[in-house]
Amino acid sequence: MKLVIAYIRPEKLNDVKEKLYAAKIYNMSVTNVLGSGRQKGFTETYRGVLKEVNLLKKVRLEIGVNEDFVQPCLKAIQEGAYTGKEGDGVIFVLEIAEALRIRTEETGPQAMG
């Protein structure tokens, strides 16, 4: 079991969701984050004063999947989130030691789906 964490552009969330659905991945959790990365942020002015915005608005996805879904999941996110411009984001995959579904008390790979 793996936990896939992806940081993507907010405006790409819908595309990613569609790709994931197409790959039969329906479970996920989404958070707002502010991120900095290779995309260096931007400056804007407010009342004539420079405002550095180096934490940009991003969306963070967390998806718990079983082993055989890891690659399809990565692929779906990659395809949905891609624009080719700096700021597209990154995906991390972490090992899940244990899982428990609250309603059914299923554990392990069962609990994922």
């Binding site: 907010p10 405006e11 969330l13 819908n14 707002n32 804007e44 002015t45 407010y46 969306v59």
Partner: protein, 448 residues
């Protein structure tokens, strides 16, 4: 300041029983009273700018809130200046051919000492009306229109499009026959502007919404309409209450004189708004299963727009009926525009101002009641001629405003472009057009 205060104190002390000999100085003349009332009404109407701003901000998304606000502000700013320099003269100046006024530009030739006091007050009242018409547009084109293009639209509307139609219907209000337009010559009745102000604004918004196309994500590829909820319903609600409040300047103030009619005009206005809420709420409840808040809010405005043409002509019971119908009509029209015509009007400007304005103007032909105002409607045995006249007014309003709108937005589209880039739209107009955010510290779920 307070230039006569000491003197008044003196007056108060001395004049315990004013003798007739004092009457000239010590009583308020009717013309001063009219100036007072017209000014107060204009102030109330001015405040409707805040109402429009809040309604439009609330009914659209957070990422465009600063832009919408800015559009409303600019409307009123450019509107005031342009209506001063150009619009007022076209609307109320000496008439040529029933088509256009030709004097009073920049209030030139107005001598403050003789008669100017009234003309300036009247100007202010008309100016806030003009600003109302142009601010209606910003709701229909919200969340996707380029700001510089909008500034130009706003200028042309205040300087030309609104005043010209205004001249046709209301040209004689200042100079009498000398300023009279062709439409009022036919006997067209639009007491406070269901057509002149609201429909004109609504049809311009329609043209804009049409040429801009729907917001990204509003329709799925197969044409299904999707909801893009407004981000701040409490602000929208506040806006509606502010508009309702300001409308008591709009309608009763259109007497521009103090007499007993102002009371019943206010009553009619209020009853129509209340019935509009009920009509829209029930219509939405029946149709969609829930008493929708945003439709109920729109319903109030629909009722208000609907009664604006006839507030001086109809009875309180007539007002309730007009308001009720306008509220229902507004729900139907919003759905029709959205699902059938697939025109994306984020705040319902076309339905509320365009459609209900036309409805209200026509309704005068039917509901005008004896004992109120001057006309008699079909329902009280009046002739159909009035209905026909009203229809001519409504139709010419549509042709004029929608036509001018198509040309204006069309020319801008060809030249400088009217729509922001898709990327900018998704990010929000605030960041790209104005370099700011409306709520920089709140976490906003940016994908909704």
């Amino acid at each position: 300041m307070f230039k006569k205060a000491g003197w008044f104190l003196f007056l108060v002390l001395i004049l315990s029983s004013p003798s007739l000999a004092w009457a000239e100085d010590s009583f308020l003349t009717q013309d001063r009273a009219n100036i007072l009332w017209t000014l107060l009404a204009a102030i109330l109407v001015m405040f409707m700018q805040a109402g429009f701003a809040m309604v439009e901000v609330g009914f659209t998304r957070a990422k465009n809130a600063g832009n919408i606000l800015m559009k409303n502000l600019i409307d009123f700013a450019f509107g005031s200046i342009l209506f001063f320099l150009l619009g007022f003269g076209l609307m109320f100046g000496t008439d040529v051919g029933g088509i256009v006024g030709t004097s009073l530009f920049g209030l030139k030739g107005v001598n403050f000492a003789s008669g100017g006091a009234w003309i300036l007050t009247f100007w202010f009242f008309q100016c806030v009306f003009c600003a109302t018409a142009s601010t209606i547009i910003s709701g229909g084109v919200a969340e996707r229109m380029k700001f510089p293009a909008y500034v130009i639209v706003s200028i042309v509307v205040s300087a030309l499009i609104y005043p010209l139609f205004g001249h046709w219907a209301w040209g004689s209000l200042l100079l009498g026959d000398e300023g009279s337009g062709w439409l009022e010559g036919l006997g067209f009745i639009d007491f406070a502007g269901s057509t002149v102000v609201h429909s004109i604004g609504g049809w311009l918004a329609l043209a804009g919404a049409l040429l801009l196309g729907p917001r990204t994500g509003k329709y799925t590829p197969d044409g299904t309409s999707k909801a893009i909820p407004g981000h701040n319903i409490p602000l929208a609600g506040l806006g509606v209450f502010i508009l309702w409040f300001g409308w008591f300047g709009f309608n009763p103030g259109s007497t521009t004189s103090v007499d007993g009619t102002i009371g019943y005009i206010a009553v009619n206005t209020n009853l129509a708004a209340a019935a509009g809420v009920i009509g829209a709420m029930l219509a939405a409840w029946l149709r969609f299963g829930k008493p929708d808040v945003s439709f109920s809010l729109n319903g109030a405005l629909a009722g208000l727009v609907g009664i604006t043409a006839g507030c001086y002509e109809v009875s309180p019971v007539g007002s309730i009926l007009i308001g009720l119908m306008a509220g229902i009509l507004c729900v139907i029209s919003v759905e029709f525009l959205d699902k059938k015509l697939k025109i994306d009007d984020p705040v319902g400007a076309v339905s509320v101002h365009g459609v209900c304005g036309a409805f209200g103007t026509l309704a005068v032909g039917f509901f005008a009641a004896p004992g109120f105002g001057d006309a008699t409607g079909v329902f009280y045995g009046g002739s159909f001629k009035l209905v026909v006249t009203q229809f001519i007014g409504v139709a010419s309003g549509f042709l004029w405003a929608f036509g001018c709108g198509l040309i204006l937005f069309g020319l801008l589209k060809k030249s400088m472009g009217i729509r922001v880039s898709k990327e900018e739209e998704i990010k929000g107009l605030d960041i790209e057009e104005h370099g700011m955010e409306a709520y920089p510290s709140f976490q906003i779920f940016t994908t909704e």
